[in-house]
């Protein structure tokens, strides 16, 4: 049975940059992009891979959706080159500075406009803010079930079997579709490298840009004014290190003193 999937992806500043190059704008409390490249948040790439594998196995359609600025079209092209059939960008200045509930509201309305779907996939946590909040808020908006931290999905007879990663193992959850699933990485969902021909084909596809008004978004629920969560400060943790020499005439004495000091510091 074909599976129609919507994958929500987020473009973020490459999180692999060295901490020394991480800068925060004191006014907006957001990371400064500078010369750093933009990438698809890592777990969102796993979500695309899961979606494309399901489509390859069962048929159906994969639609990638992203809320972001014009640059997010590059992330969507990347999703297309990995095998998504269509991609939609939701870009509207009114959405900027929305909190997690605002973004979830926008994404939920966008998925409703896409139409019929069996699965909505997201990454389990974004590589920038790491709130893990949007998937659950979004499922709530849509009135569908939500299962988080899933590494594998099997589809059969109008339902899905989800392998949810938990401490020390995994749970198998049967869920009726439609359902929203957030994806965690696994050896079976390592994002594929797009082939040259697929990159070229993706380049030729048009990505529709939807505005908040196209989606029937409640304008009272988006933007900075509607945000229920307010970020008051963002700072880089300061790492302090100091060196303490343990004296002693013999190695044995040094070891005893070291053990005593570590215990004093409650490190052992």
């Amino acid at each position: 049975m074909p599976v129609n999937i919507i994958v929500c992806i987020k473009q973020i500043i490459d999180p692999e940059i060295p901490a020394s190059q991480f800068k925060i704008d004191p006014g907006t409390k957001r990371q400064v992009q500078g010369s750093h490249s933009l990438v698809i948040s890592a777990y969102d790439q796993n979500a695309i891979e899961v979606a494309v594998q399901l489509k390859e196995k069962h048929g159906g359609k994969v639609t990638a959706v992203s809320v972001g600025g014009a640059s997010a079209a590059t992330a969507l092209k990347s999703a297309l080159s990995m095998g998504a059939d269509e991609a939609i960008l939701v870009d509207d200045p009114a959405i900027v500075a929305s909190d997690q509930q605002g973004i979830a509201h926008v994404l939920a309305t966008a998925t409703q406009k896409v139409g019929v779907f069996d699965l909505i996939l997201t990454g389990c946590v974004s590589g920038d803010w790491g709130d893990r909040a949007v998937p659950a808020f979004m499922a709530e908006e849509l009135g569908i079930g939500c299962v988080g931290f899933v590494s594998r999905i099997e589809a059969k007879d109008g339902q899905v079997v989800l392998r949810r990663v938990v401490e020390d193992g995994y749970e198998l959850i049967e869920a009726k579709t439609p359902v929203l699933v957030s994806i965690i990485s696994d050896e079976t969902n390592t994002p594929r490298y797009p082939k040259l021909k697929d990159i070229m084909a993706a380049g030729k596809k048009t990505i529709p840009v939807w505005k908040a008004a196209d989606l029937g978004v409640d304008s009272e629920r988006i933007g900075a004014a509607a945000a229920r969560a307010l970020i008051t400060d963002v700072y880089l943790p300061v790492k302090e290190s100091k060196c303490e020499m343990i004296e002693g005439d013999t190695p044995q004495e040094q070891a005893v003193k070291l053990a005593a000091r570590l215990r004093e510091l409650k490190l052992i």
Partner: protein, 383 residues
């Protein structure tokens, strides 16, 4: 003039960079050490379309432009020059020769196999006593009924012992010197044809280099590639485009040397501070970066001319000459910046140094590049 890459070119660059970082970089040193041909990597590259970069889709190719081709080879050369050379020689030389000079039947028979990567391509011009001096070629092809019969030896052939399809240049009319040379397609397993000694090289050790031996090798008459006695003219055309690839590969090595040096200079302390604080190091890094960018601009200029169907012989030679020479210089400076650690195999710059030397030799030495440029400047009457 537009220095901006297209979105697709950027996406290709990103894809190959990520592939090289994750799949090639971790094994490059070991492959070099063991002189092991990167067969697994080549299979993966073929799946991505990198073994049929330049020719059209109807032959299984990816129909890429030369700018994209140069970007791909730079990214591969960044971590493993041997992998880059495998891709370069397979695409630029063997495949491109069949695509540009082949009949429709030859294209349909051989190019899809080459693009799939199931069969690798090799290209044989160099002999024990001749290279760019093609008139000194000894290998002959004689027509015998419906067969061409090849006799002779080819030397230093990339993919010599691992290829399945070979393009071989041989003399068909000795009286006409280089205008009596023709090209032929040979398949592995042809009676009378075998790969000889595999070379043990200073660098590019994971790239396969072998001798080819023809002892009455009989191939069907229709395996003549291009017009009779037109092989050398076609060869010059193939080598022109190949130089874009060799330039890009060289830039990859130079960039590797710079990136490793930047990293090391920030980490390594001397006299109480990182060596990056010293102008002696800073100037080396600044020169490396400047020269790499200049080389890249030259290579991309040649690629752009080729893509637009303009003459590019001189510009491709500029690119190959400059990029290969600054690769050696950058690798040498990288070893110097690393000091003793640059001289041992635990750091990759030692390999880059050995690899870089070849770039100013393979597919036409620096001296030949200067000859080509001078001829373009002066005209052939000043030879």
């Amino acid at each position: 003039m537009d220095f901006e890459l297209s979105e697709e070119q950027k996406a290709i660059q990103t894809m190959v960079r990520e592939f090289a970082e994750r799949e090639i970089a971790p094994v490059a040193q070991e492959l070099d050490e063991r002189e092991e041909f990167p067969a697994d990597i080549v299979r993966k590259l073929a799946d991505l379309g990198l073994m049929g970069i330049l020719f059209p889709k109807e032959y299984g190719g990816a129909a890429m432009d030369y700018i994209s081709y140069a970007l791909i080879l730079e990214e591969l050369g960044r971590y493993d020059a041997s992998v880059a050379l495998t891709v370069e020689s397979h695409n630029s030389l063997c495949s491109n020769h069949i695509y540009l000079a082949g009949t429709e039947a030859q294209r349909r028979k051989y190019l899809p196999q080459l693009a799939s990567g199931k069969v690798l391509g090799a290209w044989g011009l160099t002999e024990p006593a001749s290279g760019s001096d093609a008139a000194g070629m000894q290998t002959t092809a004689t027509l015998d009924g419906v067969h061409w019969v090849l006799n002779g030896t080819k030397n230093f052939i990339t993919q010599g012992s691992v290829a399945g399809i070979y393009v071989i240049m041989a003399i068909t009319d000795r009286s006409k010197r280089e205008k009596g040379i023709s090209a032929f397609i040979l398949e592995k397993g042809t009676p009378g044809f075998r790969a000889g000694r595999k070379e043990h090289k200073m660098g590019f050790r994971a790239s396969d280099t072998a001798q080819l031996i023809f002892e009455g090798a009989r191939i069907p008459k229709e395996n003549l590639l291009g017009e009779l006695n037109h092989g050398f003219i076609d060869t010059l055309m193939i080598l022109d485009a190949g130089r874009i690839g060799m330039a890009a590969l060289s830039i990859g090595i130079a960039r590797g040397a710079l990136e490793e040096s930047l990293k090391y200079a920030k980490e390594r302390q001397a006299f109480g501070q990182p060596i990056a604080n010293y102008q002696a190091i800073q100037w080396k890094l600044a020169d490396m970066a400047t020269e790499i960018d200049a080389a890249r601009l030259l290579a991309l200029q040649a690629a752009d001319l080729r893509d637009r169907g303009q003459p590019f012989t001189k510009e491709a030679a500029y690119g190959k000459l400059f990029a290969s020479e600054i690769a050696m210089k950058a690798a040498s400076e990288a070893v110097q910046i690393h000091g003793g650690y640059g001289y041992i195999k635990e750091f990759p710059v030692e390999r880059y140094f050995r690899d870089a030397k070849f770039c100013a030799i393979g597919e036409g030495t620096s001296e030949i590049q200067r000859l080509i440029i001078a001829r373009q400047l002066l005209g052939r009457s000043y030879i």
